[in-house]
Symmetry: C2
Subunit: 201 residues, 2 copies
DNA sequence: ACAAATTTGGACCTGCAAGTCCAGAAACCG
DNA sequence: CGGTTTCTGGACTTGCAGGTCCAAATTTGT
């Protein structure tokens, strides 16, 4: 489908996606007009529809993919190395720092609900992101189980699911209330609870 | 401001709000046109702008208030009576049952992000809902502390914040993935963790 | 019952943003 | 190079949804 793209063409396409993503993070999906993207990226309408023949929907999908990847990349290398309690705390700190910095300008806000409604494929992207995210957390839990830092009878996937949900909710509440407290509380209490489990078993 | 409303007028206004809320739950905020609301509630454009002079934005705000109240009402009487472990589980079951039933048609989905962006006042409504919700949970925790079912040195507000975040994330993931697993995991693990705290202290 | 107020219906206006189209510039490739 | 493809710019079309307006119907209060 997407064949015959000159080097210059790919650059332009990437510029459009990145610019649109930034714009959407800043002002929300339904506040961003194609005209805004054009102005912000120095492109014309012809270009937009050249690279995204299906128009806004296709562009939104590309943006969603871009943002979904970014969410996980932003947590590296911590997320893939949850191999000790200090490592877990480093990941925790990264999350807090990251979301505190971006505040209301959250990529997820653009993806969830909004993009999800419009583009049917966006649903799949969000789901994919969540699956990958949860797997990474579960992986970390299993590693801690292998070193007896977490009780081995704990259901790693279930615990990861709970933690992931907590994070999502924490971010959601950050968006609603502007306070990071919920995210902090979830991370601290959940991680503490994982630690406590070791003593139990 | 909203003065001089005949009985009939109030009925019509209520019908519009309820109908719009239903429509939004079903298809999402930005998929619902005023025309849809008119069709669904048997009203005319003149009526819409008679009761909501500021148009869609004002209507959306009214819907947001309506839905926010409903969210808490749906959890009663359990939410206000978290006075024993069976009561907590009953509340848990109600939540699961409720969200499982409505699936993707979630009032919050209409409120969060979407309405929040458009109407500035909607942000306040969501925040207010969350505050009330969290207070109710914290109240329950404090009651359990008063009967020594939960360790008294636990920070009730912080724990309530974490649990609330977990619920929100669980619902969010239900919307994204269609599975209730995350919400279940959060509720079970968090409540278990509260129980475990009693033995510690 | 009658005047004043609300309530209702629906035709009309308007602006805007997505999408179309095409011609000219630039890049690619043998 | 020269032909072909890709890329770019921007004027134009289109549809639609929000909002305006006003006259007729109904209700209200005394």
């Amino acid at each position: 489908m997407t064949r015959a793209l000159t080097r210059k063409g790919e650059a332009t396409r990437a510029r459009i996606v990145a610019g649109a993503a930034a714009e959407i993070r800043e002002r929300g999906v339904d506040e961003v007009r194609l005209e805004d993207v054009m102005a912000h990226t120095g492109t014309s309408k012809g270009q937009l529809f050249h690279y995204f023949p299906d128009g806004k929907e296709e562009l939104l999908l590309a943006v969603a993919e871009h943002e979904a990847d970014q969410v996980l990349i932003d947590q590296e290398p911590m997320l893939s190395n949850l191999t000790s309690w200090p490592a877990w705390l480093a990941w925790r700190d990264r999350l807090i720092e990251r979301y505190l910095a971006q505040g209301v300008k959250c990529p997820l806000n653009g993806l969830l609900g909004q993009t999800g409604r419009r583009a049917p494929g966006a649903q799949a992207i969000v789901t994919g992101l969540m699956v990958r995210w949860q797997k990474a957390i579960a992986e970390g839990i299993r590693h801690m189980q292998s070193t007896d830092d977490i009780a081995s009878d704990l259901d790693a996937d279930r615990a990861a699911a709970a933690l992931l949900a907590g994070i999502q909710g924490g971010v959601l509440l950050l968006l609603s209330t502007g306070k990071i407290d919920h995210l902090e509380a979830v991370l601290d209490l959940t991680i503490d609870s994982l630690r406590a489990g070791a003593r139990t078993a």
